[in-house]
C-alpha cells in the first residue's frame, strides 16, 4: 500500500516576481525513489529545494500553495526549520564537503544535535559509511582531509554525511552528473539500497538513470508538472506528447 510522504498542492513559486513553478500538485510516496526529470531551467531544483525549505535562503522567494510532509504543513510558522532540514536531507550536485577531516565532516551533523561521545560518533561514522558504500575506502583515512579524495568518493561521503543526521527523506540534486560512469554506477547502487529506509527524491537530467533506479518519475517542463507516473509506464507508454518527446530525446 502506497503511503504518501510528501503531498504538494497547488504550489506556485516566485523569485522576485519571476515564476519558477506553476501550480504543481504531486504526491511523493514513502520508501520509494521518485525521480524529477526535465530540461534545464524547468524548475526541478527549485521544486526540490521547496521540500526542505532551502529556498527560504534565496532573496525574493515567495510561494503559494501547500507542502505537506507526514501530514504537517512545513511552511507553517510554527515549524522549526532547522529540525525540518535535518529530517529532509539534501545532497548537492557538486560535493560540498568541508575543508576538514573525513571524521569531522561526517560527525558535523550529529555533533550539532548534541552527540558528543567519541565512541558513539565513531559508531555512527562506520554505520553511515558502510551504508554509503565508502567505509572500506575511508576506514583507515578518517583523519585525512576530506577534499583529498576523488570526486566520486567525495559524493559518497556527502551522502554518508546526510545519513548521519538520520533523515526521513533524502533529496538528491543531480548527484552523479559530475562523475564518471563507474562512480555513477556506485552511487546508483547506493541509492537503490537507500530506498528501504528512506524516501528518496532525485533530480536528474540523465534519462537512463531515471529509468534504472526510480519507481516513479515526474516530468517537469517550464515550471509545470507535465506527467507523473510509475517509471515503467512513463518510459514505455507516456500519456503526454511532450513527455514522449523529451524521453525520446527530441528536445531538452
Amino acid at each position: 500500500m502506497k503511503e504518501v510522504k510528501v503531498k504538494v498542492q497547488n504550489l506556485n513559486v516566485f523569485f522576485n516576481y519571476v515564476q519558477a513553478l506553476n501550480n504543481v500538485s504531486i504526491e511523493l510516496y514513502t520508501n520509494k525513489i521518485t525521480s524529477i526529470v526535465g530540461p534545464s531551467g524547468c524548475g526541478k531544483t527549485t521544486f526540490l529545494r521547496t521540500i526542505n525549505r532551502m529556498n527560504d535562503l534565496i532573496l525574493g522567494f515567495r510561494k503559494t500553495g501547500e507542502v505537506i510532509l507526514d501530514g504537517v504543513e512545513i511552511y507553517d510558522h510554527n515549524i522549526d526549520v532547522v529540525n525540518l532540514r535535518r529530517l529532509v536531507g539534501m545532497v548537492f550536485q557538486n560535493s560540498n564537503l568541508f575543508p576538514k577531516t573525513v571524521f569531522e565532516n561526517i560527525t558535523f551533523g550529529p555533533k550539532l544535535h548534541g552527540i558528543k561521545d567519541k565512541e558513539k560518533l565513531g559508531e555512527i561514522v562506520e554505520n553511515v559509511c558502510t551504508r554509503a558504500a565508502i567505509w572500506n575506502e575511508v576506514k583507515d583515512r578518517l583523519n585525512d582531509n576530506a577534499l583529498s579524495f576523488s570526486a566520486g568518493q567525495q559524493q559518497r561521503m556527502c551522502i554518508a554525511r546526510v545519513l548521519a543526521v538520520e533523515p526521513d527523506v533524502i533529496l538528491l540534486d543531480e548527484p552523479a552528473s559530475a562523475l564518471d560512469p563507474s562512480s555513477t554506477a556506485k552511487i546508483e547502487d547506493l541509492i537503490l539500497d537507500l530506498k528501504e529506509n528512506y524516501t528518496v527524491i532525485i533530480v536528474t537530467h540523465n534519462m537512463q538513470q531515471a529509468a534504472r533506479i526510480s519507481d516513479y518519475t515526474a516530468f517537469f517542463y517550464l515550471g509545470q508538472l507535465v506527467e507523473y507516473e510509475k517509471t515503467t509506464k512513463i518510459f514505455t507508454n507516456p500519456t503526454n506528447k511532450q513527455t514522449e518527446d523529451y524521453i525520446t530525446g527530441r528536445f531538452g
Binding site: 510532509l69 515549524i79 529540525n83
Partner: protein
C-alpha cells in the same frame, strides 16, 4: 536524537530557546554593524558642536575676510589667517588656496602618471609582470606620509632649490610632488580595474576593424573605462586635500595668499595639525580649527559620494559577457 523522531516532530519544542538565542546573536552582530554609521555620525556631530561655537562667537563671514584698519584710518578688506595677532583674523581663504595649490598640481601629475601606469598594467604588461607590479605599486601606497614628507625635506626640496633657485625652499610645488607619489597608486589601481572590466569583445571588435593596439587603447578601452578612471581621479583629489603630514612638512607653512606655486603656503590640514597643540581650550582659535575640520570633512564627504556614484554607474552599465 531519537526523541525528535516522532511523528510531527518538527513543531517547536525546545527550539524556542534556540530561536531566541539566534535572534539575540543576530542583534549583537547588528549592533556591531551599525558602529560604522555611529562613528561617522559622531565625528560629524562633535566637529559641528565645537565648530558651531564659532558662529556664535563671530559669524561665518569672518572666515572669509576681516577688516583691517590702516594707519591712515581707512578700513580695508584683508584675507589673512593670523589667529595669534592682537586682532585675530580667521580668513580661510589663504588656507583654501594653499590646499588647492598643493592638491591640484598633485592631482594633475598623478592623473597623468596614474592613468599611464593603469594602461600599462591593464593593456600592455604580461600577466606575470602585472602580478608582480600591482602589489609593488600598492605597497607604495602604503608608505607612511611622514616618510614622504621627510624625504621631500631631506632630498627633494634642496635638489630643486639648487636647480631652480626658488625663493622658498619649501613650497607648494615640492609638496605637490610628494603628494603625487602617494596618489598615483590610487589612480593607477582604479584605472587598471576599470580598464580590465572593459569586455574583451569590444577590443576584438576594434582590432577586427583594423585598429592598432594603441588606437584600441585610446579610442575604445579608455573611453569605456572613463567612469572608473574619473572615480579614481576624484578619490585621488580627495586624498590630496585631506593629506596632512606631507604638506605639514614640505609646504613651508606660511599662511600667505599667493598663486605662485613656488612659494610657501599653508594648507587647511597643516593648520589644524600645527596649531592644535598650542591653542587654549575653547578659545576662538580652538573653535576656528574645528571649523576648518568641518570644512574638510564635508568636502571629502561630498567627493567620496560623487566617486561612489560614478563607480556605481560603472558597475550598473557593465554588461556581463560569459
Amino acid at each position: 536524537m531519537d526523541e525528535n523522531k516522532i511523528k510531527s516532530p518538527y513543531l517547536k519544542k525546545n527550539s524556542r530557546r534556540r530561536e531566541w538565542k539566534e535572534k539575540s546573536i543576530r542583534f549583537f552582530f547588528m549592533l556591531n554593524g551599525y558602529t560604522a554609521v555611529l562613528f561617522l555620525l559622531l565625528i560629524f556631530i562633535f566637529l559641528i558642536q565645537e565648530a558651531s561655537m564659532v558662529i556664535v562667537d563671530s559669524g561665518i563671514l569672518d572666515f572669509i575676510y576681516s577688516h583691517k584698519v590702516l594707519e591712515g584710518g581707512a578700513e580695508v578688506r584683508v584675507f589673512e589667517w593670523y589667529p595669534t595677532s592682537e586682532d585675530p583674523r580667521y580668513s580661510l581663504i589663504p588656507l583654501i588656496m594653499g590646499t588647492l595649490m598643493t592638491a591640484l598640481p598633485a592631482t594633475i601629475i598623478s592623473s597623468f602618471f596614474g592613468i599611464a601606469v593603469g594602461i600599462y598594467l591593464a593593456e600592455i604588461a604580461s600577466s606575470r609582470t602585472r602580478e608582480i607590479l600591482k602589489p609593488v605599486i600598492e605597497l607604495f601606497a602604503g608608505i607612511p606620509t611622514v616618510v614622504m614628507g621627510f624625504f621631500i625635506i631631506a632630498v627633494v626640496a634642496t635638489f630643486f632649490q639648487d636647480l631652480f633657485g626658488f625663493l622658498n625652499r619649501l613650497n607648494a610645488f615640492v609638496a605637490s610632488l610628494g603628494l603625487s607619489l602617494i596618489i598615483i597608486p590610487i589612480i593607477a589601481s582604479l584605472s587598471e580595474e576599470a580598464m580590465r572590466a572593459v569586455p574583451r569583445e569590444l577590443r576584438m571588435a576594434s582590432y577586427s576593424l583594423g585598429a592598432t593596439k594603441w588606437q584600441t587603447i585610446i579610442k575604445v578601452v579608455v573611453p569605456s573605462a572613463l567612469s572608473g578612471i574619473s572615480a579614481g581621479i576624484i578619490l585621488g583629489f580627495g586624498r590630496a586635500i585631506g593629506e596632512t603630514m606631507i604638506v605639514l612638512m614640505a609646504t613651508g607653512n606660511a599662511a600667505e595668499l599667493t598663486v605662485d606655486i613656488f612659494r610657501s603656503v599653508r594648507t587647511m590640514t597643516a593648520t589644524i595639525a600645527a596649531e592644535m597643540g598650542e591653542v587654549s581650550h575653547q578659545s576662538s582659535h580652538y573653535y576656528a580649527l574645528f571649523f576648518i575640520g568641518v570644512v574638510l570633512f564635508i568636502t571629502t564627504f561630498i567627493l567620496n559620494l560623487i566617486a561612489s556614484l560614478v563607480l556605481g554607474k560603472m558597475n550598473k552599465n557593465r554588461k556581463f559577457y560569459e
